[in-house]
């Protein structure tokens, strides 16, 4: 039953997406509002150079310097910072930095965590026991501390600070999560009759994993990944706030901007901190809504199906009544 036509190849994805199409009510509302907000920020991130009025570290236009710590005005809708940069520009480019780091971090975490979980769950044995011990130990540990220590160690190495450091710090904190989820699911799927049957028929482990286990398990990943992305943004902002993230001349980062804004705020300057803060809240809320919406539609416990019409075929002989 090899996939020959493109349509046939898409079938598993279509099958997986079925619950989404069936969603209704609150779950649907969450799904779509979450998607809308997330898409908004993705657009901001991708098209930053065109959307943003200025560059993130631009301090003058022509030869006229921007005012320092200026109130929001028509020229600077969100005001300016202590370095005479435009706050709105920093918020928009900040979206780019956040998404860049989070996408890299999650991709790395998936690439490391999912295969490890698959292999560990399917084969079991000593490898499984060992990995489970390590991952469980890490999993219980506060993410922020792991990320801080890694970011700190990396920042004094040749990698220096910046996008890659932050991404690696976040990856290390989240690999145990993916490992755990995938492994647990693999273990439950492994005992299913159809997988047993495939093994009895002589299918190699690789085939079994690829055809039967992988797609089944992977269906669980999107809601977790989006909720995880939401967490990762908070983690990145926390790193930036503590000073372990990206330096101002490398890019705009919301957490770092809030850090600098803290001293402004006590002087009555609210715009340098409020807008990056709202951006974080909005993006994380959007991702969480998206993730929860996915969870509600895919997770069978919470799922509520929309009832479709069922038409019964008329009885052959209507006179026959019980």
């Amino acid at each position: 039953m090899a996939a020959t036509t493109p349509r046939a190849a898409l079938q598993p994805i279509v099958r997986a997406a079925k619950p989404i199409r069936e969603a209704h009510g609150i779950a649907r509302g969450m799904l779509w509002s979450g998607t809308a907000i997330t898409l908004f920020f993705v657009v901001l991130a991708l098209f930053a150079p065109w959307i943003s009025p200025y560059k993130f570290n631009q301090y003058r236009s022509g030869n006229v310097r921007f005012p320092q710590l200026a109130h929001p005005s028509h020229k600077h809708l969100f005001g300016t910072t202590v370095q005479s940069s435009d706050v709105m520009a920093r918020v928009i480019y900040g979206a780019q930095t956040e998404l860049k780091v989070v996408v890299i971090a999650l991709a790395m975490a998936l690439v490391v965590g999912v295969p490890l979980g698959l292999v560990s769950g399917y084969f079991g044995g000593i490898l499984d026991r060992g990995l489970v011990l390590i991952m469980d130990a890490l999993f219980a540990f506060p993410y922020l501390l792991i990320a801080i220590v890694i970011a700190f160690l990396l920042s004094s190495s040749s990698i220096g600070s910046g996008v890659l450091t932050a991404a690696i710090a976040i990856t290390v904190a989240y690999v145990p999560l993916y490992f755990r989820v995938v492994r647990n699911h693999v273990i439950s799927v492994r005992e299913e009759p159809y997988v047993d049957a495939a093994r009895a028929l002589g299918a190699r482990p690789r085939t079994v994993i690829r055809k039967y286990v992988f797609f089944n398990v992977v269906q669980n990943v999107p809601p977790i990944a989006t909720l995880n992305a939401a967490d990762a943004i908070l983690l990145l902002a926390a790193l930036g706030f503590l000073g372990y993230g990206i330096q101002p001349n490398q890019g705009a980062e919301w957490g770092y901007d809030i850090n600098r804004a803290v001293s402004d705020a006590s002087s009555g300057i609210w715009w340098t901190g409020l807008f990056p803060g709202i951006a974080i809240v909005l993006l994380v809320t959007g991702l969480t809504l998206l993730g929860e919406g996915l969870n509600e539609t895919i997770n069978p416990v919470l799922r509520r199906r929309r009832f479709g019409r069922i038409d019964f075929e008329p009885l052959a002989d209507e006179s026959e009544q019980p």
Partner: protein, 527 residues
């Protein structure tokens, strides 16, 4: 197991805890109003906030300003600056040098007692100096005594210092924290006392309580030989962020703040009712160091171009809003012997034309790619803005392409010239004399490893050290400053005012803001 019971239990416990907490909060908030009545007895106590940190209180191993602030209140040395930037004998009655300037004999003040009532004698003085050299603490304060060969006593009130090389400025060394006198019976000879151990000194206060990272509490020393402090005591509160400190000052939890607010916060405080920003002549400097053997900084023309382009005025006004002033020599204004050497050679304001000319003459291709290093928190948040300004000015000239790099202080301070070609540093004085702003920087093997070693400069240093008259010393210092401006191992760019912020009812601060760079808390009072 009855699930109903277990969950009921949980709810019950949670409810009890929650209501206890609620009661405590409500009762507490109403009672907190009462606390202000209790504090009237403590109304003469000054509460000071700072973002400095205390590393070691034991004077044998302290070399940072936060620890120094504490020690200044409880210890004293043979000399000091009790009334401003004039060197005066404190625990000594006077010191006389031998003809070859290698032996110094000092008489000690009688009737000086430590805070526990025991009298101070020459034995305590000798013990203190021997101890510093024996322990060789990791903070490096013992390096200030590098010229001391040995200390001997001659009777209970006379101490003799035997130096390795002639030094006319030895009393200045006696005024540094390396020369603080501790009670012999109470301090171990080979170990540093812990910060939470009781401390015994001859100063105007004693340290009654020290909570690391939080508070230091001082009460007047009942056995002090000098005039009583003008206040009933002092509490220093430690903060890690200046913004929380600012809020505490505005709400009245603090009476004053000494070190350090960001420039934005200072501007805002200056406009706040009931708060006064006091500023006086400061001697803190900020400068850029070059590793003179590291390309492209090994080329003198490159360093000269940078000297022509340094945007001192922009930094002073845009970044610091006037709380610093442009600096044209490593020696800050206010110290005798200071000359604006860099202004003489490179002009008061940046000149792109001159920079261009000097690079063209040397055949250097522009724009020159350079990397400048700075540190984000040790010198305050404004460092980021400071170096952004420098980068902007250099890039805008078209002659340089600047990459900025930063590292946290702990790593930064260990690297400096060993790893960086050009880097930011600041300096506060060991003692307020031009010697401390020249010799430490220009000697071969200077602490920051910038590989500058000039025989001409070394000769001038020896001349200054051995000078027998003030005139000769000043002449040597001026020559050193001009030579340094020519050789460009560093470029100084600002000198900071000494700033303290207080509520309007605190008196005496203006009298203590001077080139000595001491905050003489014992002169402050509240009305």
């Amino acid at each position: 197991m009855d699930l109903k019971w277990s969950s009921r239990r949980i709810v019950l416990v949670a409810a009890v805890l929650a209501s206890l907490a609620a009661v405590a909060v409500v009762a507490g908030s109403s009672l907190a109003g009462v606390s202000s009545h209790h504090s009237t007895t403590a109304s003469s106590v000054i509460v000071d906030g700072t973002t400095d940190t205390v590393v070691n209180i034991d004077p044998a191993n302290e070399y940072d300003y936060g620890s120094f602030t504490v020690d200044l209140l409880i210890f004293q040395g043979l000399y000091g600056f009790p009334h401003g930037a004039k060197l005066e004998p404190v625990l000594a009655t006077g010191c006389k040098a031998s003809a070859n300037l290698k032996t110094w004999t000092c008489g000690l003040r009688k009737n000086v007692k430590f805070s526990d009532g025991n009298p101070m004698t020459s034995a305590d003085v000798k013990y203190s100096f021997d101890r510093v050299l024996k322990i060789k603490g990791d903070q490096g304060i013992y390096t200030l005594l590098s010229n001391l060969k040995s200390t001997t006593v001659s009777g209970p009130y006379t101490v003799v210092f035997h130096l390795k090389a002639p030094q006319s400025t030895w009393p200045l060394i006696l005024s540094t924290n390396a020369g603080y006198v501790v009670e012999k019976a109470k301090y171990p000879f080979t170990k540093i006392a812990a910060n939470t151990d009781p401390q015994y000194g001859t100063g105007p206060y004693e340290l009654t309580k020290f909570s690391p990272g939080q508070q230091a509490v001082f009460t007047p020393n009942p056995n002090y030989w000098g005039p009583k402090p003008k206040n009933g005591g002092l509490i220093i509160n430690y903060y890690s962020k200046s913004s929380t400190m600012k809020l505490a000052l505005q709400k009245g939890d603090l009476d004053m703040v000494f070190r350090d607010f960001t420039p934005t916060e200072l501007s805002s405080l200056a406009k706040t009712k009931g708060i006064v920003v006091h500023s006086g002549n400061g001697v803190v400097i900020r400068y850029l160091v070059f590793n003179v053997k590291d390309a492209p900084f090994d080329n003198l023309a490159v360093r000269q171009a940078l000297a022509y382009l340094m945007p001192r005025q922009d930094i002073a006004s845009r970044v610091y809003h006037g709380s610093v002033q442009p600096l044209y020599s490593m020696v800050p204004k206010g110290l005798p012997g200071q000359i604006d050497a860099y202004k003489t050679l490179y002009g008061a304001s940046p000149s792109v034309a001159k920079a261009k000319a000097v690079l063209a003459k040397a055949g250097v291709q522009t724009p020159v790619p350079v990397t400048l290093w700075w540190t984000p928190t040790h010198y305050g948040d404004a460092s980021a803005d400071e170096y952004t300004e420098i980068q902007r000015a250099l890039n805008a000239s078209g002659l340089f392409k600047v990459t900025l790099k930063s590292a946290e202080w702990a790593q930064y301070s260990g690297a400096l010239g060993k790893q960086y070609g050009a880097f930011q540093l600041g300096w506060f004085p060991d003692y307020p004399d031009a010697e401390d702003y020249t010799v430490s920087f220009y000697q071969c093997g200077a602490f920051y490893n910038n590989q500058y070693c000039s025989p001409a400069m070394t000769k001038l240093i020896e001349k200054e050290r051995a000078a027998r008259t003030t005139g000769a010393r000043i002449a040597a210092l001026k020559a050193m400053q001009m030579l340094a401006a020519k050789d460009l191992p560093t470029i100084p760019y600002w000198q900071g005012k000494m700033i303290a912020v207080s509520k309007s009812n605190v008196q005496g601060i203006n009298g203590t803001l001077d080139a000595a760079f001491y905050m003489r808390f014992w002169e402050l009072s509240k009305s």
